[in-house]
Symmetry: C2
Subunit: 458 residues, 2 copies
């Protein structure tokens, strides 16, 4: 019996896609950087048992597997490379919320649940699931965990990794590891789930997870703040954290060029009356009443202004206004799409130095370079996109300049987007031989046949 027939025996013929128009969306990544890779087919299992049987079959046939969630990743980790026999295994049909335990503050979900669906289920139970990012309407939680997704709430709640209490994983030989425990404390040996979070599907397939829920904030304040420089932004962050503590949920830096690009793109207007060189968009959330929180934020901002850390600030007067401010932030990527993108991080204290040195290093070679700088400055993470459009031709040279500065400052060349195919070669310049050796050893231990998402990460 041929291979595709045996796949169909497991998932049903209708869930083995081979027609060109059916498979196309599974083979091309969100940024359309990887459009040439082909797999034999796309399979769409409906259960962990089916995933297990599919993987066992592939292991026996030496066919590689590309696990895929919402296919919204930005590093080409979720599409085939075409370098060998492989299939795309889509988790989309595994989209059940298995259970929610409000008294334990946990939710158990299948990998194919769309992130926004998980957020909504938490909300319906009077709880809050904090993972939040631009693609939340289509990305899937299995992909979020496999890439250790970040987003705008990391400052307060941490990355995807910190939301996970338990996992169910299909291993590269098809066996199912049931680690679906909803325990906050379990010190009984190696914490196996940590291996699979952020492994980009190279060590196994996450099929389900137990996630932590949080108390739902009832008061929200959104502030748009003009600042002099990245240094002022970082000092402002420390000042506000000192005054507002962990109520500070988000703290996003936006450069004037980024704001101008997005205001023009959205045909919106400047949130502040006069222009400023840099801006911060901050969200402050708490369990009490908005009126009270608003007063506290106003006091904190006034204090920071006295200390000289900000030039002007406005608070959203309504939910609609707050959404408008966030829309500005979230539309920056589409407003300046054609340029050379970077997702980099350093210690938050080194952000000012990073911004200065990057600009100097780039201008030394390209005098008319035009960087769009924005991102999660509270986490030391910037999206540093180098325009104008013609710079795209210079991508490798621009990447080199940026990554070398990041390396000198002890930073990361992929803060939240992962390595995928995009940075798989580049990372070899940045990690020690020992670290690469340890990663390879883990890969060999868990996936000796090398069938899990080959050509990604390592």
């Amino acid at each position: 019996m041929d291979f595709q027939r045996r796949l169909a025996d497991i998932v049903g013929a209708g869930n083995v896609l081979t027609a060109a128009e059916d498979v196309k969306p599974y083979f091309i990544d969100a940024r359309r950087l990887y459009t040439a890779g082909r797999a034999e087919c796309v399979v769409r299992p409906a259960s962990t048992a089916e995933v297990s049987r599919l993987v066992a079959l592939c292991a026996a046939e030496d066919v590689a597997i590309v696990p895929q969630g919402g296919n919204t990743g930005l590093s080409g980790g979720s599409v085939p490379t075409g370098a060998r026999r492989e299939i795309v295994l889509s988790l989309s049909r595994m989209n059940r919320i298995r259970s929610l335990d409000a008294l334990n503050d946990t939710i158990t979900v299948e990998a194919g649940c769309v992130l926004a669906t998980v957020q909504q289920a938490a909300e319906d139970a009077g709880r809050f699931f904090p993972l939040s990012l631009g693609a939340e309407g289509s990305c899937q939680i299995g992909g979020n965990l496999s890439t250790n997704a970040g987003g705008v709430n990391v400052l307060r709640y941490g990355m995807a990794r910190e939301q996970v209490l338990g996992l169910e994983v299909v291993l590269p030989d098809g066996r199912v590891w049931d680690g679906l425990r909803g325990l906050r404390k379990d010190n009984t040996g190696y914490d196996l789930k940590q291996l699979f979070v952020g492994a980009e599907g190279t060590l196994g397939i996450i099929t389900a997870a137990v996630l932590r829920l949080r108390p739902k904030p009832t008061a929200n304040v959104t502030a748009f703040i003009g600042v002099e420089s990245p240094r002022h932004a970082v000092e402002l962050l420390a000042a506000l954290r000192g005054r507002l503590g962990e109520r500070l949920s988000a703290f996003e830096l936006i450069s004037r060029p980024s704001l101008e690009a997005v205001v023009s793109h959205l045909k919106d207007k400047d949130p502040l009356p006069a222009p400023h060189p840099w801006y911060v968009l901050s969200e402050i959330a708490d369990g009490g009443e908005t009126t009270l929180l608003r007063e506290q934020v106003e006091q904190a901002l006034a204090g920071a202004a006295e200390d000289g850390w900000l030039r002007d600030a406005t608070l959203a007067q309504s939910v609609t206004q707050a959404r408008g401010l966030w829309k500005l932030r979230e539309s920056i990527p589409e407003a300046q799409f054609v340029n050379v993108k970077h997702d980099i991080s350093v210690a938050a204290s080194r952000i000012p130095e990073l911004v200065d040195r990057l600009a100097a290093a780039l201008r030394a070679k390209y005098p008319d370079v035009y960087p769009y700088v924005f991102g999660h400055v509270g986490d030391g993470n910037l999206h540093y996109n180098v325009g104008p459009e013609k710079m795209v031709k210079e991508r490798p040279a621009v990447n080199r300049i940026v990554y070398d500065v990041v390396a000198e400052l002890g930073g990361s060349i992929s803060a939240e987007h992962g390595l995928g195919q995009l940075k798989r070669e580049e990372i070899r310049r940045h990690k020690s031989a020992l670290e690469l050796e340890l990663m390879a050893a883990l890969k060999r231990t868990l996936d000796p046949k090398g069938i899990m998402n080959p050509g990604k990460v390592l």
Copy 2:
């Protein structure tokens, strides 16, 4: 040249201890459960380079290594077993705080730093390091990380694992992995540091760490609350988290027998005028003013009382009173020392069922059993100690009853104390064959000679 001479060449003769009176405190665990194990000597390196050379020498000579911090562990993980040639490697002299970056909210410390010293350094910089537990005056941060320590602030801030941004580790062949990054976001491959946190020194020796700091709470309220039952405590937790959000830092359950034991032991008095079957000690902390927070806590408690979740409550009126209430909680272990102890966890929602079923299962066999129940109910973690004293003779049978009930409820037999020697055999009844196989595979991959802390964990 003999082995001890070569050790002395690395650390100096004064730092190779062999005299019986010198080595004794390193060979016996804090609970004096393991008093018979002997190692060849105790070595006390002063730097990562010395640790590296020591481990390389031991690897060449096939001598095993027992890494030891403050030796305060409760599962016998930090003392020699005596089963083979081994040395104790004490990290105590590596006690420098290497740096503190207030704008990045990080501190870089050596493994031998006492936990209280780390807390104090954070405090001095206007920040907060939340890991807090009974032994904080003598336990060392390297041990805290190697055992993934818990404590009273886990509800809000997470376990030791969640405080770690970077590690420096000496691997079992003596090579040094420098993962001392202070980045909040770094998605560049497998997160190697997660392997070593909670591995109890079986995969390598943590020599230094970069830890996250938090905003320092400026307002603290301590509440002592009488409740009807564990179910009421769990419902109260949900009610208070709904009203106070993540300001709830600690939420400890105390049974009436535990309170009576400790009040008598300390010659203190009952914090509430009338007796109650169960109590909750809760800490609420925030960045604002205590007066305001106090009002908010009073309102939240009044609301919870209306819903029937509490019988009576008192708030500490001063720092001294708050310390007195915490002293009651922290002295429970010493007030009822001779009994059969357990450190168990379940989903917080199952705590009421756990308490009921444990009492029923134990009473069926031992009608006059007297459990002392207390612990971190907000994390689903109880310290369940079975008296009276004569029960100690029945330890294996009592353990069996308790662990079987925990297993039926999907819980953990070691919530925060680790496996060490104490639960190394027992855990084999509770983990799947696949999970044990994965743990053994990781051990073989990282420590193929099996020289790192043998006889612990697996």
